[in-house]
Amino acid sequence: MRAEGIAKPRLTREQIAQRAALELPDGAYVNLGWGIPNLIAGHLPKGITVYFHSENGILGMGPRAKPGEEDFDQVDAMKVPVTLIPGASFFHQADAHLMTRGGHLDVAVLGGFQVSEKGDLANWKIPGAKGPGGIGGAMDIAAGAKILIVCMEHSTKDGAPKIVKRCTYPLTALECVDTIVTDLAVIDVKPEGLLLREVAPCWSAEEVQALTGAPLIVRRQIPEMSFA
């Protein structure tokens, strides 16, 4: 399962975000988590309007504020000063997570440390890390989103697979992930298992499988990832 043998180019973090952006339907209410997901806002296709939710209490975030125009009372969940689009609203924390937990978000995109073949997600704590870790809004978001997409690298820095039979990292939520977008593939979590939907340019289904810790279902020819 180690990746040393394969040195093909993988997608960049921006490219993962660009691919994931195509999963967002027009008019959707969407929450983007830390890391790669947060890059998605910069890659929305033309003509698509998405309403970004921030779990501190904003609906309708626009791009980050320009230098000199920041208002530190108007920050996203990553503490970044943001702008608003017309029709934005503010609300308190209980309503912000009523939206996440109550199934009101159309799509949430989170980062991941591990995803299991059943769609279990581990994304808040690395075993053995110093300190207690921090959960933030991830558990509420994972439990409640209508569609949950995880964006992450396919392998750890050490080359270990992040898509696994069973998560060994502390869990965020059980059976919550619908789709995984990595630097190698797009994979849907189905009742029957992990369905390989697309592979990165120059990668084959077999090569992706070799770097994946759980069996992939491969139906017909797997198309190359599209970015627009």
Partner: protein, 225 residues
């Protein structure tokens, strides 16, 4: 009738005793009652249980109280990468932490405010958060029982108060503040401006005056993290 407007920050926190359970509003640097926290640090109340989304940012927000070793237990969702004073105390076992998902933290606070004795949620099922909690299947879902979080005091930050105690908040500085304001026995609001009673439109009040017991004007420290 007792006046709610206090002349100084120190007076507003003067009776907070050692051992009190205190909620503190704020998220992402916005909406923290930094001036009240500084006053409580000056007062030096000890053995505090703090309920807060984070655990301070360097010396700012709750940081100063961890630095002073005033907090013995904290209930939080995201201690934060810059909570260095908390992290040191935590490593030294001078403070204990109950880590709670952010929405559940807020919902447990609201449950206390709303006179509910507990609720069931799917959030946290199968995770470390579920440890020691009752689990059952309801509405077809595995759920855990979560209990209310009460407080003796809430320190909150609002933008505008009228003299009666009605509050409004600015932008995303609202966050935890309106919910914590409803949940504490005594709610102390630090505000940017105090206006005459009735100056806030009744439809625009976010926190009705019934929840607010003390009001004090902020003195300069807005973003402390």
């Amino acid at each position: 009738m007792k006046k709610k407007v206090y002349a100084s920050l120190d007076e507003a926190v003067a009776d907070i005793p050692d051992g009190a359970q205190i909620m503190v509003g704020g998220f992402g640097g916005a909406g923290f009652p930094n001036n009240l926290i500084q006053a409580l640090a000056r007062k030096g109340a000890k053995n505090i249980t703090a309920v807060s989304n984070n655990c301070g940012t360097r010396d700012g927000e709750l940081g100063i109280m961890f630095k002073n070793n005033q907090i013995k237990h904290v209930i939080a969702a995201f201690p934060g990468p810059h909570a260095n004073h908390f992290l040191e105390r935590f490593a030294a076992k001078e403070v204990t932490l109950e880590l709670v998902p952010q929405g559940i933290l807020c919902e447990r606070i609201r449950a206390a405010a709303a006179g509910l004795q507990g609720f069931y949620t799917t959030v946290g099922v199968g995770t470390e958060v579920a440890a020691g909690k009752e689990e059952r299947v309801l509405e077809g879902h595995r759920c855990i029982l979560e209990r209310p979080i009460h407080a003796d005091y809430a320190l909150i930050k609002a933008q505008t108060a009228d003299e009666l105690g009605n509050l409004t908040y600015r932008l995303a500085a609202r966050n935890f503040n309106p919910v914590m304001a409803m949940a504490a026995k005594t709610t102390i609001a630090e505000v940017e401006e105090i206006v005459p009673t009735g100056a806030i439109h009744p439809e625009h009040v976010v926190t009705p005056a019934i929840f607010v017991h003390r009001i004090v004007q902020a003195k300069g420290l807005r973003y402390a993290g």
